[in-house]
């Protein structure tokens, strides 16, 4: 049984992730994501990976958050969102059956992960973190399968990534810390770049979409 403080520390990211993924309001979800990244940074710090914590704050919280808000069309200068995007509903209705069905891949992935990790017992100090990482992966996958919304999928991707980083850092021993750091840093960079690209894309798609809507409306007005 891991110590209580570890468990307590592992709880916030998980809870936040769940909120991020399943909050119906997108702006709130994005804000929550920033919080989530901060919580993860806290975890890094707690585990002793100061550099990672700093990176997480910089890349994960600040830049990724900025990207997400950019995708939503919220800018620090312009203020409130003006587009429909903020209230974007998922195109596919969420039903219980669908929810359960889409959880199967996530569960399968978790099962595989558990099978592999069963051979590598963790010390008490990191067990909680590892568990939280796995839960994040599972949640992320579930959400990724469940949602059609591009931004939500981006969020899910980020959360899976974070989960994997957490698992990774609990797995590497002393000898391979450098390699682990390397991997995580690359991963963070990739996640960031991916999010940037995604955000830009979403933005552009939105613009084009709006143009098209406007175009078709004006076209519809003509005989």
């Amino acid at each position: 049984m891991p110590p209580l403080d570890d468990v307590l520390l592992a709880m916030p990211p998980v809870l936040l992730a769940a909120l991020v993924l399943f909050d119906r309001h997108l702006v709130r979800a994005c804000s929550l994501f920033v919080l989530f990244a901060l919580a993860v940074a806290l975890t890094w710090w707690w585990l002793g990976f100061i550099w990672l914590a700093l990176l997480e704050i910089l890349l994960g919280a600040a830049l990724t958050g900025a990207c997400l808000f950019h995708a939503l069309g919220i800018s620090p200068v312009g203020g409130a969102p003006q587009t429909r995007l903020t209230h974007w509903k998922d195109p596919v209705v969420l039903t219980w059956r669908r929810g359960l069905g889409q959880s199967i891949p996530a569960l399968a992935a978790l099962g595989m992960l558990a099978t592999a990790l069963a051979d590598m017992p963790a010390s008490d100090s990191i067990a909680a973190t590892r568990w939280s990482g796995q839960v994040l992966v599972g949640l992320g996958l579930w959400a990724f399968a469940l949602h059609r919304h591009l931004l939500r999928r981006l969020l899910a991707f980020n959360i899976i990534g974070t989960g994997i980083f957490l698992v990774l850092m609990t797995l590497v021993g002393e000898a391979a810390t450098a390699a682990g750091h390397g991997l995580v840093m690359t991963g963070l960079m990739v996640a960031l770049l991916g999010t940037v690209l995604g955000a830009l894309l979403i933005r552009r798609l939105d613009t084009l979409d709006a143009q098209r809507v406007v175009g078709s409306e004006s076209g519809g007005g003509a005989p």
Binding site: I104, P105, A109, M112, A145
Partner: protein
């Protein structure tokens, strides 16, 4: 020897080449070159010279076909001689016979010109084939000659171009093809078995071969078509009447003999223990049937040429019986062969004279009627065996048969001779009925060549070089035995004429038997067969197209279904991530199963 063959070929090709040179001449109206000129008629001359050339010659040509070997030996010489003689005579005769057409052609009648051109081309070509088959010793050359003659003669048969000519041509061609096929099969089989290239090798091979009987049967039947064996003779009465008279003369005079030559060259006659007795018996039977049956059929014909054609069948039937005896009793063959050759030459010339005579009676020369008709009936009498060459031929035949102890057969043959007499009488009667009134000068080529043939025919035994033994005239004591069939025949003919005069009406109502008797059956049968083939072919066609249609339809369905399948692609697109995890799980299971 090459010249003998090459010359006709050159003559044949001369005119078309000339046509080619002056291209466009065909379309121009106006004067045309004379097609049947002297050069054309001279085509058989070198062959005649060859036949008279003393001594035996042989020609080997490695490059020719599969290795050519042409021989002129004593066995071939008589054939060559009488063949070329008849061809010359017929050629000269033709120049007169076709004079009207030629004039029309020269005057610009396109149709006539075309027909004549064909004749000018095919006549020497037929001759070439005929000569080649006589001279050839290697099998391919022989077959080549036979084929060339057969197919080129088709053009002679259909020369006139009217409906009957085409009917005759069709009968001729169909039967010829049938014969060719049998010959080819027989030749291939026997030559393959004997590994022979020459005809003599072939004969030995057949004598030794296990299946020799069947090979011989095939060959006998194949050549039998040409030789007019009973049952296979049907083309003769159809083709001969429609061909121009000189063509009929060579058809009936020499080309029929090609079948005989075929027998003599390929069947192992005179070889002891060849094991062909069963065939010999059949041949004998068929020969007799032909000799007798043809007279019965011929006697009811109206067209003189048809009557003559049936007479040819009858005469060839007689020769066939001789061949049959040769197969049955090889020991008799050396003597018999002489008789056969003599008989063949006699029949060839005489029948030639008779056919030419038909033309003469249609266009009588300015001769006294009694002279003309006695000249016309001379070959007829000769054919019955009462006079001249006929007498000699008959005697040589009979003497051999008597020596071999075939008295009964002689009687039968004598009966056939009775029939021949009747036929001759019938033919002359018909000629008399259909005689023409436009006389021509007797010094024209037509009467002259006819006279030449008549005289030649009468004197066959005198000039025919028979190997070893000359023809002998029968002793006086035998004359009654030889002459009675003719007399009986004459009497019967007179009775018939008298009877016909009295009961004229009755004869009229009787339905006339069409010339070509069995042909109509064959034609119907083969038409049925061909129709079945064509139907089968069409069935295959339609079945194939149905199958194709069904396949196409099925394919379209499958393609449509495949088009449906493509919509699953959306699923792949939507479920990419779960699918990836699925793949991973699958691989994990795979690893686990190791």
């Amino acid at each position: 020897m090459i010249l003998a063959l090459l010359w006709p070929l050159l003559v044949s090709l001369r005119n078309p080449l000339r046509m080619l040179m002056e291209h466009g001449a065909l379309g121009r109206p106006g004067h045309r070159p004379e097609l049947l000129d002297r050069v054309w008629a001279s085509a058989p001359l070198p062959a005649l010279a060859l036949a008279l050339w003393p001594g035996e010659t042989a020609l080997l040509m490695e490059g020719w076909l599969l290795g050519g070997q042409w021989h002129l030996d004593e066995a071939r010489r008589p054939w060559l001689l009488f063949t070329s003689l008849l061809w010359i005579a017929a050629g000269v005769y033709a120049r007169g016979y076709l004079i009207a057409e030629q004039q029309a052609a020269e005057a610009g009648d396109v149709d006539a010109f075309r027909r004549l051109l064909g004749l000018a081309l095919l006549w020497p070509l037929t001759l070439t084939g005929n000569l080649l088959l006589i001279l050839a010793e290697d099998i391919p050359s022989f077959y080549l000659g036979f084929t060339v003659m057969t197919f080129a003669a088709y053009g002679l048969v259909v020369h006139a171009g009217h409906h009957d000519a085409h009917l005759g041509g069709r009968a001729y061609l169909a039967m010829a093809l049938f014969g060719e096929a049998l010959i080819l099969g027989g030749l291939l089989w026997s030559a393959g078995t004997a590994d022979a290239r020459t005809l003599s090798g072939l004969r030995e091979g057949i004598a030794e071969a296990e299946q020799g009987m069947w090979m011989a049967t095939l060959l006998w039947l194949g050549f039998g078509v040409k030789a007019g064996v009973a049952g296979l003779h049907v083309w003769l009465p159809l083709a001969h009447p429609v061909a121009p008279t000189p063509a009929s003369a060579v058809l009936s005079g020499v080309m029929i003999k090609a079948g005989l030559i075929g027998w003599l060259s390929t069947l192992p006659l005179g070889v002891p223990h060849a094991g062909l007795e069963p065939l010999g018996r059949v041949v004998l039977g068929m020969g007799l049937a032909g000799a007798l049956g043809a007279t019965l059929l011929g006697i009811v014909q109206r067209h003189p040429k048809a009557v003559l054609a049936y007479s040819s069948v009858s005469q060839m039937g007689m020769i066939t019986t001789l061949v049959g005896i040769g197969l049955l009793e090889p020991a008799l063959w050396p003597a018999l062969s002489v008789a056969v050759v003599l008989f063949a030459a006699h029949h060839g010339m005489t029948k030639g004279a008779l056919f030419l005579g038909v033309g003469i009676s249609e266009h009588p020369p300015r001769l006294p009627t009694w002279l003309l008709w006695s000249l016309l009936s001379l070959p007829a009498l000769s054919l019955t065996g009462a006079l001249a060459s006929g007498l000699a031929a008959k005697w040589s035949m009979k003497s051999v048969l008597y020596d071999g102890g075939h008295g009964l057969l002689v009687t039968w043959l004598s009966l056939a001779a009775v029939g021949t007499t009747l036929l001759m009488a019938r033919a002359l009667w018909r000629q008399w009925c259909e005689r023409g009134h436009h006389t021509i000068p007797w010094r024209a080529p037509m009467p002259l060549s006819w006279l030449f043939v008549v005289l030649g025919a009468a004197g066959v035994p005198l000039w025919l070089p028979l190997a070893g033994m000359g023809a002998t005239w029968p002793p006086l004591a035998e004359l009654p035995g030889l002459l009675w069939p003719t007399l009986v025949g004459l009497v019967l003919a007179c009775l018939a004429v008298a009877g016909a005069a009295t009961v004229r009406g009755k004869w009229r109502v009787k339905r006339r038997l069409l010339p070509g008797d069995l042909w109509w059956l064959y034609a119907a049968l083969s038409r049925r067969g061909l129709a079945m083939l064509a139907k089968g072919s069409r069935n295959m066609e339609s079945r194939a197209s149905r199958l194709r249609a069904r396949l196409v339809e099925k394919e379209e369905r499958v393609v449509a279904r495949l088009g449906d399948v493509t919509r699953y692609e959306r699923g792949f697109r939507r479920l990419a991530v779960p699918l990836m995890i699925g793949v991973a799980v699958l691989l994990l299971v795979g690893f686990w199963l190791e």
